[in-house]
């Protein structure tokens, strides 16, 4: 398998407000403080757009903008792969309540915001990018499933790809059925070439049997329940000064092995 290169990262989670802080936490320089913050503001969007953007999309776009700025690239040069297990649980809940009420009235905006590709849709609208995008789901393996899709694009089309993975806790009563205890979003800008900015080089393969990656010990167990946060063991290993191998949860009781090596 050929390698892909990690150019830049965006991160958002409790006590992980950006990639720079996340690096310090993962490196053990800064203790993790799980502070609670509201949904991101998205200062990059015009105010009228900002109001319409649904919750999951806010998280997704916040990390995508951070990764884009980190790579000093134009949105129009980067394809987007969006992966989420939960989708926008608030919208699912409101739609189910609406269609089971006597009036059955759905807001048209809520309906079009309910599509799984809302985040890439709003990304394209707000940045003007006409680049292709895709939205996927792989249940607990959504991060690795999204990563493989992104790698397919990088390797077979020599494209630069923004992978965004994002999951949020469900509201009740759905929360009782799906244990996602903390919100998390991550954006990884991947490219075929090893530019001077590259942070790490990854080679990815699939194998039989369960995954063995350990969640970074300095981060809370609640975060480990978030499918998108499965990026964190990989990012932690990618910070190391020597080559590492990370095994991530993949679909169908298999695992994904990522061999990561530093680029500088």
């Amino acid at each position: 398998m050929s390698a892909v290169h990690l150019e830049s990262v965006g991160v958002l989670g409790p006590g992980l407000p950006d990639w720079k802080t996340t690096c310090r936490v993962l490196d053990g320089e800064l203790p993790h403080r799980p502070e609670v913050r509201g949904d991101p503001d998205l200062p990059q969007l015009p105010p009228n757009e900002r109001r319409r953007v649904p919750k999951l999309t806010r998280w997704a776009l916040a990390v995508a903008h951070e990764a884009l700025a980190g790579a000093a690239r134009a949105a129009g040069d980067v394809a987007m792969v969006f992966s989420s297990s939960s989708g926008d649980g608030e919208i699912v809940h409101k739609l189910c309540e609406a269609v089971t009420s006597p009036e059955r009235e759905i807001s048209p905006t809520m309906f079009h915001n309910s599509v799984h590709n809302a985040a890439p849709g709003y990304w394209s609208i707000s940045t003007g990018s006409r680049q292709r995008s895709v939205a996927l789901c792989g249940h607990d393996a959504s991060f690795a499933v999204g990563l493989l899709e992104a790698i397919g694009l990088v390797l077979s089309e020599q494209a630069s790809v923004m992978l965004v993975a994002c999951d949020l806790p469900f509201p009740e009563p759905l929360a009782a059925l799906r244990d996602i205890r903390a919100p998390f979003a991550v954006a990884l800008l991947l490219s075929p070439a090893s530019g001077e900015r590259a942070l790490a080089r990854w080679k990815v393969s699939l194998g039989a049997g369960p995954a063995s990656a350990r969640f970074p010990h300095m981060l809370p167990a609640a975060l480990a329940t978030n499918p998108a946060a499965q990026a964190l063991p990989l990012l932690a290993a990618s910070r190391a000064s020597v080559a590492q191998s990370v095994s991530l949860v993949y679909a169908g009781d298999r695992h994904m092995t990522v061999e990561t090596a530093p680029c500088r």
Binding site: M1, I106, S133, C137, V145
Partner: protein, 360 residues
Amino acid sequence: MDLDGVTLDTWIGRVGGLEERPVVPRLAEFDCRNNRLAQIGLQQDGFDAAVAQARANYGPDRIAVLVGTSTSGMEHCERAYRQRDPRSGALPGWFTERYSLNLFSVADFVQRYLELSGPAAAISTACSSSAKVFASAARLIEAGYADAAVVGGVDSLCLTTLYGFNSLDLLSREPCRPCDAARDGISIGEAAGFALLEGPGRARSGVALVGYGESSDAFHMSSPDPSGDGAYAAMHFALQRAGIAPREVHYVNMHGTGTPANDRIEDRAIFRLFGDSVPCSSTKGWTGHTLGAAGIVEAIICALCVETGLVPGTLNLDRVDPAFASRVAADAETRDLRCVLSNSFGFGGSNCSLLLGRLA
């Protein structure tokens, strides 16, 4: 219309008998309308037997499963919400998130039903979902992660899509009439469809995926870009990837939903690329708009067109919109079709065009 408790004044395409055909006992936890529909799709036309043969040829871990869906088991979730505990609000014990509501449920079900263990994903980009699975599968095969792929799409009727499209005023009160001067909206259908893709040089079938093109509108979440630039780009990229000229395309299966805006914009984009010489038509008059399954349904129709030389007519078309410039085929024709294009456009401005051709 004829669906459990729905009072909307519209027409639907419903697969009969789903209520009596649960999923196989070994996968009982997956039982819901959407996975039942998937199972029926897998049992059609000897598909599961063809996959069994491919499994023997390549090994189960070398065959990917990529399934497009817009709502997966949403209908099951709606049922559960109707049975919430009046005091606690809790959902009933029979309902699970993982095996129905979660978008991956249908891909998981298909992978387990076919006993495969390669790469797997649910792709959900609204009405382009099961066209995009072809592009993803082609890339996974090219990048070496699979030798073959089961691609498909499954979307079943649910209240959310019916009342949702109704809220956007996009449902026709009569059977949809794509390209007609008096068209006034879509008719929602449900469908499951699957195709087995094999890597270059290994396929036995007479039809190949020769190109695909994808783009985003960058315009609006639920209205297509009036310029048609996104639709044009998807078609153009498909031709570019295949390395063929517009005149080498012999038929275009339109997205052709029957909404005034979609068909008008698509007509303009097709005319810009192909002029008025290539016949185009919409088959949604027969199937309805099967949303996340529309891409695979129309890709299969296009494969049949390549095999048989049929240009399908456009059902319910009385008078072609006089503003249209491309050559809309109202009635079926027969001609030599070596290469045909299928368009799928979805909410979020997600466009995908597939180019299917005859193997030399």
